[in-house]
């Protein structure tokens, strides 16, 4: 019956977002970085659904549907980029890809 205070969900989602951010910064493998971005997107989804339910408003859930669709699109394009990168440079480690760095 939603007896918990909303802060519980908000703090949990902040913690998950934080773990995702640490992953994006510290890892080198492009696929794992991609998965950490998914973690962060999901943390935001949890916040949106918590607010949607505690405010009794539908907009949060519609927004989550949009985020999920964009995440699916991002998965398709992102993994295609990783595949193209691997075909050209034989690596998925982002610190070995420095063509645009000078």
């Amino acid at each position: 019956m939603l007896s918990l205070p909303i802060e519980y969900y908000l703090v949990l989602s902040a913690v998950i977002f934080l773990i995702g951010a640490v992953g994006v910064i510290t890892r080198r493998n492009a696929i794992i970085i991609f998965m950490c971005i998914e973690l962060m997107l999901n943390a935001v989804n949890l916040t949106l659904i918590a607010f949607s339910q505690y405010l009794g408003n539908m907009v949060g859930q519609i927004m989550v549907l949009m985020v999920m669709t964009v995440a699916a699109a991002e998965a398709a394009v992102g993994l295609a980029i990783v595949l193209a990168l691997f075909r050209n440079k034989q690596t998925v480690y982002l610190d070995e890809v420095n063509l645009l760095k000078w």
Partner: protein
Amino acid sequence: MNIELVLFLVLGLLAVVSALMVVSRKSPIAATMFLVMHFMALGGLYLLLHAQFMAVVQVLVYAGAIMVLVVFVIMLLNLGDEQSLSEKVTKRETSGIALSMLLGGALIFAVTRAVRPHTSDAAAAALNNGTIEAVGKALFTTYVFPFEMISLVLLAAAVGAVVLTKRHLV
């Protein structure tokens, strides 16, 4: 201790631990499997929030479709374990973790001071808010334009993925 708190603690702990595993595993496949576990735990949390449709979509789209795609790509690339994790943490990683902790502190500071939106009639509305009927009605009446627009995003992404992975562009 009511049942909702117990469920929240179990699912939340599962979500946090599996998220930590995703970030710390060397092997990409192991990280993927923990990510699936994380999505399942989040689906459970959505159920706890009475958002049934979102819970189903979470499991179908994330744990089902997106993770299959990721596993496919990992298998195609035939990657080994990442080496740099065994070496000692570099300066860049330390400063990155410190910056993230700062961000996390700010986030938690902000959300614990947020206004409390919980009212009794909103909670009563929430019981019917997450059903497939309520979501479908909102999606096909008020939000039908964004719904149609998002399909264009998907179309563009599908075309983009095909173009990017094509070996020789005409």
